[in-house]
Symmetry: C2
Subunit: 432 residues, 2 copies
């Protein structure tokens, strides 16, 4: 059966590039499609692409529901009534976003439905194509916000009250949902608006597929990760008048910790990264007295992550205690504050198997690789509430959240065909 449903790669690319005009930003080449996209959640540009999305899916025969937190469910009818098989991702972007992150999952899903339509293919059960609201968390600072509300891991009211951080005139999520007309009536709830499964096509946002020369990543789940904030307190002193032995140099201590954190990551085969560092008083000839830096640690198992963090805390504390490594130097005060932890995600065996089978059909087993998602995705939230899995396609140079983010047309076509075959195979296997 799947062989009769061939997606139209050209049509899909045209849709990707046309809709990228809603928020086109960050030109990186001469060509008409060589810009990124800045389409912040619930902005005017987001409203435009949403309006278009509803119009397009309705023209394919979908019924469209908008839920209380702005998620859009476009439901393509099946032969039988029943809970829909879901597929989706997000149409919002980072301020310096590209034209594939999230977008490919939604527009790839649209191409699946268009292919069904033109082939007069009717699945056994309805297929819901979903635009999850505010996945990026760039404007309203909570990533995967609305899929978390749907999964009931984030209270609706808390999401409503979230405040924008990208503009001087602060707005709440609820105000902006109302303003753009997307505060819907469907309950934002996996119980009251359930999905039978959720499949998400996404760019890898990393270099593993490209480096291993594979076309499709069969995503097994998501890494466990945790964020900490480390604050060091030393003593500001004059760089010319203060001997090394008399210093409490918070930046030197921080530097030792950053180097050690990287070593720990290697030892545990995980990841430890420092993305933000701030030192004060920030004067050329003053030894920094205070340094704040963030720690982002990841491992594909919860146990591995726990070991990494214990190791980090032990070694950072020891570095602070030894001061600047001289007999006389004073200890640095250290506070290591936990921000949050996201446990490891294990996708549904059935759903992973459905992706695997489809990927083998489309590109052959040798061009696939099992992979663990390093980034968070809406599928992490859906995985708590329904069988879920994901399909990755390569990211050129592993780059994402950047206007030059790129996946080539053949890779996109392969990914969308795998998504179609996955949905069809899964639909055919459903007992109810």
């Amino acid at each position: 059966m799947p062989s009769t449903n061939k997606i139209n790669a050209q049509r899909l690319l045209e849709t990707i590039h046309t809709t990228a005009l809603w928020g086109a930003k960050g030109r990186w080449g001469e060509g008409p499609t060589e810009t990124g996209v800045c389409r912040l959640a619930l902005s005017d540009e987001d409203k435009s692409v949403r309006d278009w999305f509803i119009s397009e899916t309705k023209s394919l025969g979908c019924s469209v529901k908008v839920d209380e937190i702005g998620n859009i469910f476009a439901i393509y009818p099946g032969k039988n009534e029943g809970i829909p098989t879901g597929t989706g991702s997000h149409l919002d972007t980072q301020p310096t976003g590209g034209r594939y992150d999230g977008i490919l999952g939604v527009l790839g899903g649209l191409e699946v439905l268009r292919t069904f339509k033109e082939n007069n293919y009717v699945p056994n059960y309805p297929v819901a194509l979903i635009d999850w609201c505010n996945e990026e968390g760039a404007r309203f600072p909570r990533s995967m916000m609305a899929s978390a509300v749907w999964a009931e891991t984030l209270p609706l009211q808390e999401a409503y009250e979230m405040k924008s951080i990208t503009e001087t005139e602060v707005k709440t999520v609820k105000e902006e949902l109302i303003r753009i007309g997307y505060l819907g009536e469907t309950p934002a709830s996996y119980r009251l608006n359930p999905l039978a499964a959720h499949f998400e096509l996404h760019i890898e946002q990393g270099p593993i597929l490209e480096d291993s020369k594979k076309k499709i990543g069969i995503v097994q789940g998501g890494q466990a990760f945790t964020w900490y904030k480390v604050v060091l307190g030393g003593k500001a002193s004059h760089t010319g008048t203060t001997p090394l032995s008399a210093r409490s140099d918070a930046l030197l201590a921080a530097s030792k910790m950053i180097v050690r954190g990287n070593e720990i990551a290697h030892e545990h085969e995980g990841l430890v990264s420092v993305g933000i560092i701030e030192a004060s008083p920030a004067v050329v000839n003053v030894v920094p007295s205070e340094v704040m830096f963030t720690v982002d640690a990841r491992h594909h198992t919860d146990e591995g992550l726990k070991s990494i963090i214990e190791h980090v805390i032990k070694d950072f504390t020891a570095i602070a205690a030894e001061g600047n490594g001289t007999a006389k130097s004073k200890p640095i005060n250290i506070s290591i504050e936990h921000d949050f932890t996201s446990p490891a995600i294990h996708f549904s065996r059935d759903c992973v198997a459905a992706v695997e089978a489809a990927a083998h059909e489309v590109v052959g087993k040798e061009d696939t690789i099992e992979i663990v998602s390093g980034a968070g995705h809406d599928s992490c939230n859906t995985s708590f509430r329904c069988p879920t899995s994901m399909i990755f396609v390569p990211s050129k140079d592993g780059i994402s959240h950047n206007p030059v983010e790129f996946t080539n047309p053949e890779e996109i076509a392969d990914g969308v065909q795998v998504l179609l075959n996955t949905i069809v195979n899964y639909d055919l296997s459903r007992k109810n």
Copy 2:
């Protein structure tokens, strides 16, 4: 002769604390004198203390000259005409300054003149008490500005055009000199307005005297120092999706350099300090692509400083080239930009001997220590043009450029008495 000229420590302290009201800021205790001072160069507060300084020195019989860059020369008459023996420092402060840095040198000099006056002591030659303008470089970003103009190492016009950086409405030095009435007519020139010598009493701004339990530092000269700016270019990548081996982590490389810089400083018995670091894009889950940090390197010899810098450049370049220490990681781009170098300063043997003799008279040899200044001072500029030396008194906990900056009354009294004896001894030794 010096024994009859005993300074009045109580009078001096009262003057220090009274004048500290012009710009009092940064309360750190309950007592009336427990604040710092914020008296930026050419501000209203600076004008107030200058006006008072001129009035006070005139009341002692001084003739007062203001030069073209705002330096004030209050000349106490001697038995003979001739080029004055100079003493001075600065009355401006850092935004978060204390009440001793610079101020002690000017008001200590004032106490010397007051002591002369009340003892009817007349030196052989005139003594010039100088308030050097804008030593701190906090408001107009060039430290030791006006003594450099006097020394003709900084063109007058360049100093005039310097712009303020501490206020939104930018002003030039010349505009502010005119506004507060301190654009004088005396040439700002060591040739046209010469000094026979320059002695400067200053707080150490470091912990060496305190740690060695000495009362007076006999300053031999100033460290050589140099400033560099290092800019690293890596690749921004997602902390969750980018394996360690695929990263070009600019912050990790910077951290290794900062640690290595400190090791190099130990190896060469010099100083290497990083006061400013900035990393971007500064997002918790993005590996930093660009890092800028400053390097401040110091050694008491020019040759030592050269060795340190060569070592720093070699090792930093090697760290950048090795990427993140994995076989696969890409090199980090590095640019190491020289800002400026201040060569080692060697004070006049005669002047150092004069300070040494006076210090031995006042506190005894065992309570003195030979020291090299870690910070820049107006005396560094005068040393290029006339015999110069300095006297240091202890800084509590080595702290300076901070409201809690403190030197106790006995230490202050000792320092000012050493200054007086130095000036008297030097004056008596002058042949013309």
